[in-house]
Homo-oligomer: 139 residues x 2
């Protein structure tokens, strides 16, 4: 588990996906701000609120045992003094095969010199779009 | 169509849902910032980017002819100088009947003294949760 403070929202985001890929629950929760107002919405899932629910959600994801690999594309970032909003398309691979694309809104907040995640809102890219991308990759 | 400038993110949000309920495309687009970086993700939909795609998306929603009514619950707001992030649960009614709950992340940006929407990311609350709510409403 990393005890580092993330000096930029980009560092916090890199740590988030590193924890996600390595299914490291402690590292994942280290990225999140410890506040009742944090929110995590997994694709198709309910709104998990606060550190306890967010942690339980990630535990369930990690307990499924799937080792996911992410490549991030089409990033759009909007930053203010204390907030940074990152829109990303997560290309999710399992064993080297593209399994889907997830649209994510990630929000980071600066607190006491470090940046922490306060929101992860994810939803699946429609299947038709994924099929088109796979088709393009093949041809 | 209103030509007013929204002095607060709350006013912009009220205008957004008013335009949504009245299926008024011009009023809807008046709420959005005219910038290529704006993003709109309808429930289950792709990431629409820029004023042209965002407008086409709303036109398709409004052309379906459904008149929706929203009540907003469980609002969580995080504000910085130039950005305001609003998480809401949209209780969506058609003809007085609850048709579903949508989890929305709405982001507003201050530009030249007015607040404009720059992101609407919506995803459906899982059906099981909606059924539980309907059950609670009946009993």
């Amino acid at each position: 588990m990393s005890k580092s403070i993330y000096a930029t929202p980009e560092e916090a985001e890199a740590a988030f996906y590193r924890a996600f890929e390595s299914t490291d629950l402690e590292a994942m929760m280290h990225v999140w701000y410890r506040d009742e107002a944090i929110v995590c919405i997994h694709p198709g899932g309910p709104r998990l609120e606060g550190p306890e629910e967010v942690r339980s959600g990630w535990k369930a994801v990690f307990d499924s045992g799937q080792r996911l690999r992410f490549s991030l594309r089409d990033q759009i970032r909007t930053r203010d003094a204390l907030l940074s909003i990152h829109l990303v398309k997560e290309y999710v691979h399992v064993s080297g095969v593209l399994r889907g694309v997830v649209l994510a809104t990630n929000v980071y907040q600066q607190v006491g010199g470090g940046w922490y995640m306060i929101l992860h809102h994810a939803s699946p890219e429609p299947v038709s779009e994924v099929e088109r991308l796979e088709s393009e990759a093949v041809h």
